[in-house]
């Protein structure tokens, strides 16, 4: 099965094969080109954000990487295969609204589905489960501890706060030791404190486990200090580069078509001001 290909806690063996290669790809939805001539490359352990205005195809890019939407021209390689081929080595967190408050299923059970929810059959009662079931339970506890969700993992997920639900879902995405995390707006609908703590959690996982992260964000500020690369999607194309090069007043103003300023705070961190669509409370 899937449980432990790698000892937990040890980073993935170093490889130099890129995790994602996109080569002159074009995506079409309903006959309309969403973006075209997009080329980019993401290496192991890299923390990469996909930024851009609404409706520009950020989620479409993630779906293309997961093989849920084929590209019309060009090519995408993920973990050395065609998209969708190695999805068991990818942790995915889709864009979502919160779980319904009446959902009376414990968080720990949602996390467990990430481990074996795709296997046919119905689980045996715990007493009859044997060694494999014990290993699975240990792995679930371990990954819940890793994201700091032990305090509320046994509460019905519908009664957890947005930040708590997001941590549990990140645990679900991490449970099979993925080499790539694909996260669609994981910080949306979180308050400022939770945005900061969830961002640093994702960064820590990326660093310590050598997991590449491809993350769509609405607001760049909470993750800006952690980013290795930025992909800006706008006007049907993409610009990729390290944050210092892409996140400049000139580049952003050109991409969004509206004046945007990039400032440095006292600690030397970049802050984007005037970014369209960002939540008001994050404009500083």
């Amino acid at each position: 099965m899937i449980v432990t290909e790698r000892a937990p806690g040890r980073p993935a063996p170093p490889t130099h094969t890129p995790v994602i290669v996109v080569d002159q790809a074009e995506a079409r939805l309903g006959g309309r080109a969403i973006w075209s001539d997009v080329s980019l490359q993401i290496g192991p352990g890299q923390f990469v954000a996909v930024l851009g205005p609404n409706g520009v195809g950020k989620s479409t890019l993630l779906k293309a990487v997961l093989g849920l939407l084929p590209v019309s021209t060009g090519q995408i390689k993920v973990l050395g295969g065609s998209p969708g081929r190695h999805n068991d080595r990818i942790g995915y967190l889709p864009q979502r609204r919160a779980f319904d408050p009446t959902t009376r299923i414990r968080g720990i059970d949602i996390v467990r589905l990430g481990l074996d929810g795709d296997r046919w059959g119905t689980p045996l009662p715990a007493i009859l489960g044997g060694r494999r079931a014990r290993d699975a339970r240990e792995r679930v506890e371990e990954v819940i501890g890793l994201v700091g969700a032990s305090g509320y993992a046994r509460r019905p997920i519908g009664q957890c706060s947005g930040g708590e639900q997001q941590r549990l879902l990140i645990a679900q995405a991490l449970i099979r030791h993925p080499e790539l995390l694909v996260l669609d707006e994981p910080l949306d609908s979180l308050d400022v404190t939770n945005q900061a703590s969830v961002s640093s959690l994702i960064r820590d996982i990326s660093r310590t486990r050598n997991v590449a992260v491809l993350l769509v964000a609405h607001d760049v500020n909470p993750i800006l200090p952690y980013l290795d690369q930025v992909i800006y999607l706008a006007h049907g194309g993409a610009v990729m580069g390290p944050p210092e090069q892409v996140i400049t007043a000139d580049t952003l103003s050109m991409l969004y078509g509206t004046p945007i300023d990039v400032l440095r705070d006292r600690a030397g961190r970049l802050v984007v001001v005037g970014q369209p669509d960002a939540h008001a409370e994050h404009r500083r």
Binding site: I105, G117, D118, T122, R154, R155
Partner: protein, 322 residues
Amino acid sequence: MSSADASILARATSIDHALGANPIDGLAHMLSLQFIQHALVAGTSIALLSGLVGYFVVLRGQVFAGDAMSHVAYTGALAALAAGVDLRVGLFAATVIVGLALGLLGGRSTADDVVIGTTFAWVLGLGVFFLALYTTHSATGNSTANVNVLFGSIFGISSSDARTAAWIAVGLIALLLLIGRPLLFASLDPAVARARGVPVRLLGPLFLAIVGATAAEASQAIGALLLFGLVAAPPAAAQRLTDRPWAGFVLSGILAVASMWIGISLAYAVPTLPASFTIMATSTAIYAGAALITVGRRRGERRRSHPDVSAPEQPQGQAATS
């Protein structure tokens, strides 16, 4: 149905045994009766199926879709009667086909409210049409058939019908157990399940087809109008009593079977009460009991959990349920 009439007579004469002698003898006498045995064979398997399938119906928020099935079951059965074929052929064909169609037309993993609403109003109208055809053109038709389809006749089930119902239930339960885990994944988290290779778009229609077949089974026991007493009440009670998915799944099956056994025994002990009523009354009572037990507990839970938690590192009050 003549066998149903016989069962009322048998129950009426057995009342002395049931109440006069000690309860063990009464129970032994009840279990020795043929129509009770048939009712228990069919009823147990149908109740277990309904409870297990119902768990997912309630979890997926498809109670409305399941409710539409009771109308479809009625129309299917009367169409078969009007055409002069076995009533069950019409029951199963109609419910399974409509289940598949709801799943496919809805397009999403859950069927659309408007699609369901439109479908079942039309279907019930069709049922009235078949009823008119049946009563005017069928010389062999009997007047109780319509009532039996609507309200069930578990004491009128023949030995071979009971065995057929049991085998169909076993087959459907096996199918449900086969797709159980991916179905739970697809129900709670369709986008992630799909990315992980779970055939979400296939499971939706397949599950509604299973719901359809379950409705056809339950119609034979407690009738098309009442089948939701077995498909919705036990899982709703189970989901109040536990928040572990597989424990709830099994508990839902157990509560449905308990409703069936208690309902059959009550109807045997008090012959004026129809079995469909006592089964329904029991499952409703179980749900009401579960709701009463959990109301206080949930109020406590809500007081402890704060809706907005800005510092997740800070440990929360431990969950009240385990």
